[in-house]
């Protein structure tokens, strides 16, 4: 997919837009007015130094935290995402930086954790889970990603870090209807698996989803992403298309920009 070479806004309305989001944890001001726009069919790289607020912003979009101030818009409509459940219902999925998997549950149980498939008939009323259907859907999603796991019925604690990360990515891709946020999804991966995740991200974007990709690999993001949002000290100091961006300019912005320069 080609990036918008004109350097202007793409024609579509953003799927996800944040406006002036602030968030404090006690005395720590994690976000001081963060604004970004993620467009359908595009990958938005979210970069910034450690502690810049990337994870906090990602988690607010995913409904983990409530913001103190600011607005979250889904396809131009202001939404109040008060819980992870609500974000999911709006079609927003996230791959957490720490994955947030239940290590003792199996691969397919983790895939469907919190929204288990139920059997039909009277068992449904009791909340009886349809293990087989869950395994089949999980297998499909993993195959789509080209990810390898030895078995879908082992607890995820028996898998390698890379395999666990692949599961988290495949799960988000399977469920997402509007947007996927990935918080450093390739951090624990080898070269081959990293390439697989990037392929999956691109495939998800090609399906029309907006993907927000948090990463520290700036050269890769310049090459791979469509747009880039640079965070510093809790705000997005710049967002622009990646076409023609120079690494040195990005680094300068990331490390020295003032908020009002945005």
């Amino acid at each position: 997919m080609e990036t918008d070479l004109s350097g202007l806004h793409p024609p579509d309305q953003p799927v996800i837009e944040t406006r002036g989001i602030t968030k404090s944890f006690g005395h720590v001001e994690a976000l001081r007015g963060a604004s970004l726009r993620a467009y359908p069919g595009e990958v938005l790289a979210l970069i910034g130094d450690n502690g810049a607020g990337k994870t906090t912003l990602a988690n607010i979009i995913a409904g983990v935290h409530a913001s103190d101030e600011g607005e979250l818009l889904l396809r131009g409509i202001s939404v109040d995402v008060a819980s992870v459940r609500q974000a999911r219902e709006l079609g927003i999925e996230i791959v957490y930086q720490d994955l947030a998997q239940a290590p003792d549950l199996t691969v397919s149980q983790n895939f469907f954790f919190g929204r288990e498939l139920l059997v039909k008939g009277i068992g449904r009323f009791l909340g009886k889970v349809d293990e087989r259907a869950m395994r089949e859907r999980t297998k499909e999603a993993m195959t789509l990603l080209g990810a390898q796991v030895p078995s879908l019925t082992v607890p995820v604690s028996a898998l390698s870090g890379g395999q666990r990360q692949a599961i988290a990515v495949a799960r988000a891709v399977m469920w997402a209807k509007a947007a996927i946020i990935m918080d450093e999804p390739t951090a624990a991966l080898g070269a081959k698996q990293t390439a697989m995740v990037y392929d999956a991200v691109r495939a998800a974007a090609d399906r029309g989803l907006a993907v927000i990709l948090v990463s520290h690999d700036i050269p890769k993001m310049i090459e791979f992403a469509d747009q880039m949002a640079i965070m510093r000290h809790g705000s997005v100091v710049a967002q622009m298309p990646t076409a023609g961006l120079e690494l040195v300019d990005v680094l300068t912005t990331m490390l020295t920009a003032q908020k009002d320069a945005a």
Partner: protein, 353 residues
């Protein structure tokens, strides 16, 4: 079985054994190992007891009756421990529920004179409301535990330790320290010491039925997955949109309900409350749960293992008594088995799969 066809890079060999055959899974399961231990104990006492009385049907009836209450408590505790919680207050809950039930029965049973003479004119109604009172008291007690854990954000170990004191304190206040006795004989005859087919104790049947329901809920229902997921990683459960506080209320509520039922069984068997007793109930239940293969750290649980392990204390007590050895050795042996079980659990955690 691999999910996808193995590529040269994927170290399929490392994992190919991770889905062992059914037979191997059963043999290596803790429930199976503990069943073997139980069988060995039964055979051992059978061989050592005079005239093999230990293996007689009368003794099996005693074993079933004596283990029923611990089985019930262990089943409830399996869910809590699996969810990463503990309830140390179940002994106090059993006492309080039995006291409330006994009070209700004596109040509704007839005039004070009739009741004192053990001559209840209104026995059916009294027993019905007594059962209701026991179960309601137990459930409310459990819900209070969960609510305190939720509100104070303190772990359940501390909360239920405090509630253990509160619960037995209230039982002493309500009774003035005197046991409520002279409960209607019908309670014992038709329930507490009653048998199906003249040999299978009613409380044991209740314990087994509840065990089956619990096994189904743990392994087949969403409720079980959410319970174990919460015990495995509470953060993961929260991020998966699971209402862990509500789940906690349900889990402690069920534990409380079971404690109330056990309290009712207790007064039905002995026709008196036992406010000095039940001190060791919580630890015995937790021990059975852990011996049965549930991880003390949550995330993994075996209802079947808990049920089998909950028979061990009764076997030891009966066996030692029959052999005229002090039954106090039971505590020592149970403690040793618990240590072995915890050791196995710890090893499993440090070397997954």
């Amino acid at each position: 079985m691999t999910a996808t066809k193995p590529s040269p890079q994927a170290s399929a060999t490392t994992f190919s054994s991770s889905e062992p055959a059914l037979v191997k899974r059963i043999i290596t399961s803790t429930a199976f190992m503990i069943a073997v231990v139980v069988l060995v104990l039964i055979l051992l006492f059978g061989a050592l007891s005079p005239n093999a009385v230990f293996l007689g049907p009368a003794n099996f009836r005693n074993l079933a009756l004596d283990s029923a209450q611990l089985i019930l408590l262990a089943v409830g505790m399996t869910f809590l421990v699996g969810a990463g919680e503990l309830d140390l207050s179940i002994g106090a809950n059993v006492i309080l529920s039995s006291v409330v039930a006994a009070k209700v029965i004596t109040l509704l049973g007839g005039t004070p004179e009739e009741v004192l003479a053990g001559n209840y004119s209104n026995v059916g109604v009294a027993i019905f409301f007594g059962l209701l009172a026991a179960v309601a008291t137990g459930t409310v007690f459990g819900i209070v535990n969960a609510t305190l854990v939720n509100l104070l954000r303190v772990n359940s170990f501390i909360v239920t330790l405090a509630m253990m004191s509160v619960g037995s304190g209230i039982a002493y206040i309500v009774t003035g320290g005197v046991n409520v006795s002279a409960l209607p004989r019908d309670l014992q005859k038709n329930f507490g010491s009653a048998d199906f087919f003249g040999i299978i104790p009613v409380p044991a049947v209740i314990a087994v039925l509840l065990g089956i329901v619990a096994w189904f809920a743990m392994t087949k229902l969403r409720f079980g997955t959410h319970t174990l997921g919460m015990g495995s990683s509470i953060r993961a459960a929260q991020r998966a949109g699971i209402k862990v506080k509500t789940q906690r209320v349900k889990l402690f509520g069920i534990m409380g309900l079971i404690a109330g039922l056990v309290g009712f069984i207790d007064i039905s068997r002995f026709l008196t409350t036992n406010i000095q007793g039940h001190q060791g109930d919580a630890l015995a239940a937790i021990a059975a749960v852990v011996i049965g293969g549930t991880s003390l750290f949550g995330g993994r649980a075996s209802v079947l293992g808990s049920i089998i392990a909950a028979i061990i204390p009764a076997i030891l007590i009966n066996g030692l008594v029959i052999m005229r050895v002090g039954s106090f050795y039971q505590l020592v042996v149970t403690g040793l088995i618990l240590l072995v079980a915890v050791g196995i659990d710890q090893r499993r955690r440090t070397q997954p799969s």
